[in-house]
């Protein structure tokens, strides 16, 4: 009803003619265009700001020197190298993805293909809900419940056993304090599982009905339908989802910063403390005083930017033809 009234009003204002139509359209388009352009400007200025602010560090150590430098000493030597953090981020993200990959896809398949509708929708809602839990909330659980539990019931027994049987492995295993690479990786895996699951399920639900029916008609069992008809069709979407989850894992900050133990020097060990690119920025940026220190942290931000840009562009390339929503939840 309201719509009709408004349309009548539009017609009755004919005398305003040119202003109302031509100018109105021009203004509307210009506004939309400018606001769209704002997003592009924001992204470009992010790249520009990061490279501008980090230029001091890159000038001081050289691009190669900064990327491969292994010393991070804001206190005395004022030497800054990003390699420990790049390694820390890569190790935790890749390991988390390796843990999360198969279970996430399994849940995706289970919801989309096997579960009765009501169970499927319950799990689906739960997964969305879990994906919405803020990272700090997971972090507080990790810091007070998960890490102490891991220390008492996993790390210390493993550490003692190794000390008795293979003392030479101890330097690889590391300090069983509870906060370290292994803890952070497990939490990271738990945090990206919902994300990967949602994207997998989306990809599977886009497989056309006929594709499945054709396989059923050949006498395939349910699993054979999934393996031969559904998964090959959804492959691209699932792969893009995995890439986006990897991007998530790389940028995940708070929970990792709370659980990884924050040790800025190589070598890293399996259960011992380490640091990642986001965690060092969070920990040191607030207290950084020297301009070289700030600039080096911005430099780490730039490296993080380039890595996650690459990952996102690969995901966008894979998604482009396959998904309408661009991999956004809901």
């Amino acid at each position: 009803m309201i719509m009709k009234d408004k349309q009548k009003e539009g017609i009755s204002k004919k005398p305003l003619g040119i202003i109302y139509r031509w100018l109105g359209d021009r203004i509307f388009f210009t506004l939309a265009f400018a606001l769209g352009l704002t997003i592009i400007v924001l992204s470009v200025s992010m790249a520009w700001v990061l490279s501008d602010e980090s230029s001091l560090a890159f000038k001081e150590f050289g691009i190669g020197g900064f990327l491969t430098g292994t010393t991070w000493n804001p206190g005395v030597g004022l030497k800054f190298g990003a390699l420990p953090f790049i390694l820390g981020t890569m190790v935790t993200s890749v390991a988390a993805l390796a843990i999360a990959f198969l279970p996430a896809i399994a849940i995706g398949i289970f919801i989309a293909e096997y579960a009765p509708k009501w169970i499927g929708s319950i799990i689906d809602n739960l997964i969305h809900l879990i994906a919405a839990i803020p990272s700090v909330v997971v972090g507080i659980w990790g810091i007070f419940a998960f890490a102490p539990w891991m220390r008492e019931s996993v790390y210390i027994p493993v550490f003692n056993w190794t000390a008795n049987n293979w003392p030479s492995l101890l330097p690889v295993l590391g300090n069983p304090m509870g906060y370290g690479i292994a803890t952070a990786t497990i939490i990271l895996a738990l945090m990206i599982i919902p994300f990967t699951t949602v994207l997998t399920r989306d990809a599977i639900s886009k497989v056309p009905r006929e594709q499945r029916e054709a396989a059923w008609a050949l006498g395939a069992t349910r699993w054979e339908v999934i393996r031969m008809a559904v998964l090959p069709y959804a492959r691209g979407g699932i792969l893009a989802g995995v890439m986006l989850s990897f991007g998530r894992a790389i940028g995940e900050t708070m929970a990792v910063a709370m659980l990884i133990g924050n040790k800025n020097t190589l070598p890293f060990t399996i259960i011992g403390p380490a640091a990642t690119m986001p965690s060092v920025i969070i920990n040191e940026f607030r207290e950084a005083v020297g301009s070289l220190h700030v600039s080096s942290l911005m430099g780490i931000g730039l490296v993080l930017f380039v890595i996650s840009l690459t990952v996102n562009l690969i995901a966008a390339y894979i998604t482009r033809k396959l998904s309408a929503t661009g991999g956004q939840l809901v």
């Binding site: 265009f33 708070m254 969070i282 661009g326």
Partner: protein
């Protein structure tokens, strides 16, 4: 096809099928369990840490908590409200406009690149958006402020709103627009008075999702709104001075060495979780309504 030429009996194939059902069910349960344990643990610990002081007192110095005086997070909750509102006020027009650009002018040359850049910005770590807000707002202003925190969160919201606006508007059939144009409406009136009202639910859902996502982000706030243990003397201090927000305060409480503050951390956790999950459930319910229309 290869599968059928192999010499597998029907019995073997059915067995394999059963095995996969069991495996998938098992792994679903195995993964859902720890995730539910996390929620349960936070809820139980958080609710036992809740008390009335939390909503009436400010935090003060660590000494105040250690002497057993009443401490709370009222300044944090007010700060969160101010910063989140600033963020949505900044982000809404930009996201909406970009979404309209993407859906209503689909043939424009800007759009393919805008879409890719928007998705990339959406995938960028939130901490980088904090660094951007630090360089653009905090540095020129010379002080940490609620305003810069609002901008940092707005950078998180904008790409989400742009995407959801686009898909909400795209879900309205093109014939509606043609009907509007046919009765002589100019294009901007078609968008504002026919397409956008019809896509209302989708638009609101997008705003809610973006708001929920940003409200839980701590990383961009650590060096923009910074944090503050006290209520500012005047309300403008919330916008122009350093201000406390729930996610950032939760982090500071959790890594502090004081036992009393850890308790407060759990309380902050349950408040934050409740806030974000409520927003999210409303958004999900709206989505469902839309699908049944």
């Amino acid at each position: 096809m290869k599968n059928f030429s192999e010499h597998k009996t029907l019995w073997q194939r059915n067995l394999w099928d059963r095995f996969m059902v069991a495996l998938l069910t098992f792994s679903t349960i195995m993964v859902m369990l720890p995730l539910l344990i996390i929620i349960g643990y936070v809820v139980v610990n958080g609710i036992s840490a809740l008390n009335w002081d939390l909503f009436t007192q400010e935090l003060g110095s660590p000494a105040r908590a250690m002497q057993g005086k009443s401490t709370g997070l009222i300044h944090t909750m007010l700060g969160t409200a101010v910063v989140d509102l600033l963020a949505i006020i900044i982000a809404a027009p930009v996201g909406l406009g970009a979404g309209i650009m993407l859906s209503e002018y689909p043939d424009h040359k800007l759009n393919p690149i805008l879409r890719v850049i928007n998705d990339t910005l959406n995938g960028m770590p939130a901490i980088l958006k904090g660094l951007l807000a630090f360089a653009l707002i905090v540095k020129p202003m010379g002080t940490f402020s609620g305003l810069s925190g609002g901008f940092a969160l707005a950078f998180v919201m904008i790409p989400i709103i742009a995407r959801s606006t686009e898909s909400a508007l795209m879900s309205i059939p093109w014939s509606i627009r043609e009907a509007g144009l046919a009765i002589g409406l100019p294009r901007w009136r078609v968008v504002l008075s026919t397409v956008m009202p019809a896509a209302r639910t989708g638009l609101v859902t997008g705003f809610l999702i973006a708001f929920a996502r940003a409200a839980g982000e701590a990383a961009p706030l650590m060096f923009t709104s910074f944090g503050n243990n006290y209520l500012p003397n005047h309300w403008t201090g919330m916008i122009l001075g350093p201000v406390d927000t729930l996610p950032q305060r939760l982090y500071s409480l959790a890594i502090s060495p004081y036992k009393e503050w850890h308790e407060l951390g759990w309380a902050a956790g349950i408040v934050l979780l409740g806030f974000v999950v409520t927003l999210f459930i409303i958004a999900r319910m709206l989505t469902r309504e839309k699908n049944y229309d």
